[in-house]
Symmetry: C2
Subunit: 381 residues, 2 copies
């Protein structure tokens, strides 16, 4: 199969950007990505814009002033998996030989909307009923957390350790919104959002950010070119949900397909950027991604394997918990981080000798996972 | 290149659907399309949902209850060209061999939003300034209309003839929102919206609708299988706008590429569904699509060539002017109409012996065409 290379990538710092319009933020990331890739704008043949809440025909507006007019622009939405879906669809076109070089970017400006308060659509009685009953995402993850503590004989401090790890990583990342470290005690003492999840166990949603990648079928003139080894997007569930709310089935299915596509297994992965929107999510995804056998997530965390310096550092960027989660930008930014890690460009948070990286994001499903999207990508040098 | 076939298609009637949620409307079209294609849900490998204003992760919600869970769902937005963009991206994946059979649908429920009043995003100072100054779409097209009357020595009645033709066609179409015929006098006497465009020269926006298509690389067991001969999406402008507001450059560029891709020319086209959001638009698109030489749009209209029974009937469905314009659904519905026309299934509005059909939609660009999207497809038996 045709190789797909990442020629370059960039992101804006994630955080509050008052007075900056979403297009300006996206343009910052795009211009830096083009420079990083050393690709002139005229060589970009199509643009994929990942965004959730920014409105109609946003991508065209953003590239209008960058010398990228005239070419096809596709606006893509898949909740928290929007950015990864943009890369996935770009890959289809590259594999089909429709283009040889394309731009993918993600953008979200949540502070302009009051911050992560996603307006309910009158689209679905079930979702509306569940959401009005309080089953919003923090509550959904809190129920998983409660069940996890019960089934795994774990302690709230085990959940808090995820936040401590990722905030430590984030303190080393100039692109992260939250750059101070924290302690288990501070995490547990922070304001309760949905028991057992305290404030510091939930990713910041008062955040803006953008990230961009240049993808190409041409091999770049770089010492360590990074390839997209696999790209998977799935949705919902194949079967009706069973009662096991600790089984992140959609993510496990995406991961299985991604490993098969790349001819790799979890043991081959050197660095991971995963969707830690809440601390409990990171633990569940350890198991869904095959990094730990079922039941061993806490043991993996406590072993230090997923910390910088460990066997398979998870979220060296700080993850969503430290970086913040500007929806459309997140999936693209995960891949920019892995690009930098695989090329030894990650500064103080560099993972030593990383050759294979994995990104994962799973979103949607406010009232359960039955209409969610999940994406897993494997990148490698 | 790999052939892409349309195995079946369907749409809901366009109109007001009070008390029906958007997903229910879409599901009606999808179930009818699957039945029309004689493809079981289990053979669909991916879903493309085209929508502009329906909110996050809408496609997953819509297919959740139809036995289509688990597979990838992609939500696509490109203003009025959203539906055509969904087909275009599906074609990339089919050409890449990622799937052999996929579903594309478009859905919009404008009545639930107050009808076509598109909320302004705080994304762009220029657009906001222009829009607040009154440069909304009817005004933009009114300026083109005024210029057209001046340059072409045409009369307001010439514009009105477009509405008369398309309302006549719509009167024969059970899927159209407006099913009464009209006269030049009635069109000119209807309420002025933006001089010279009266109410009956603007497409209805208080409308809901959905349309769906099944696309496959497998040749269907049908007497007259319909192929996608070309599929083009472009955006914005290659060069800065000149002062010629009668030059629909973006549409002309998409059409040129579509003809080259199919190895065909305008003279080969037997039937056209084009984006007559306003009467003046249809005349400008005659020229942009090469159906008439520059300057001859009114002559083509007056010759009767674009009326049912003429040489190249345009908008036999009634077009946007009679059918209404539920944004995400429009581009898909255009292709469903052409599918039916090419297979002799269009009932009272059937175009005789049609073998090649063209669809076109151009959207966005509230404050000018510099961030618009345009799409042209050629279908053939």
């Amino acid at each position: 199969m045709q190789d797909i290379y990442i020629h370059g990538g960039a992101m804006t710092p994630f955080g509050r950007h008052p007075g900056v319009l979403a297009p300006e933020l996206a343009q910052q990331a795009i211009l830096k990505a083009l420079a990083d890739a050393d690709v002139p704008a005229g060589r970009i043949q199509a643009v994929y814009c990942a965004n959730v809440l920014g409105g109609m025909i946003l991508g065209q507006l953003i590239v209008r002033d960058l010398g990228l007019k005239g070419i096809p622009v596709y606006n893509v939405e898949n909740a928290c998996a929007s950015g990864a879906t943009g890369v996935h669809l770009a890959r289809h076109a590259l594999l089909a030989g429709q283009y040889d070089t394309v731009l993918v970017f993600g953008i979200e400006q949540l502070t302009a909307l009051g911050g992560g308060t996603i307006p309910l659509q009158r689209n679905d009685h079930k979702t509306e009923l569940y959401a009005r009953s309080g089953m919003v995402l923090p509550a959904v993850y809190a129920m998983r957390g409660t069940r996890f503590l019960y089934e795994r004989d774990a302690r709230p401090a085990d959940l808090a350790e995820v936040a401590v790890k990722n905030r430590h990583h984030g303190s080393l990342n100039p692109y992260a919104q939250q750059r101070n470290t924290t302690t288990v005690e501070e995490v547990l003492a922070s304001r309760m959002i949905a028991d057992p999840l305290t404030l510091l166990q939930c990713c910041p949603s008062q955040v803006d950010g953008a990230a961009a990648l240049v993808l190409s079928t041409r091999r770049p003139a770089q010492a360590r070119p990074v390839k997209v080894l696999s790209s998977v997007v799935v949705s919902g569930m194949r079967e009706e949900a069973d009662d096991d709310i600790l089984d992140a089935e959609i993510t496990a299915r995406a991961a299985r397909q991604a490993y098969v596509q790349a001819g790799l297994g979890p043991q081959d992965v050197d660095v991971v950027e995963l969707h830690d929107a809440f601390t409990i999510a990171e633990l569940l995804y350890y198991e869904a991604l095959g990094l730990a056998p079922r039941g061993d997530a806490v043991a993996l965390l406590k072993s230090g394997a997923t910390r910088l310096g460990g066997r398979v550092p998870v979220n060296p960027s700080g993850g969503l918990l430290a970086k913040g989660h500007p929806l459309g930008a997140t999936g693209v930014a995960q891949m920019v981080e892995i690009l930098w890690q695989l090329q030894g460009r990650a500064g103080a948070r560099q993972v030593a000798e990383a050759r294979i990286g994995l990104t994962q994001c799973t979103g949607g499903g406010i009232a359960g996972v039955d209409h969610a999207a999940s994406s897993v990508h494997l990148l490698g040098v």
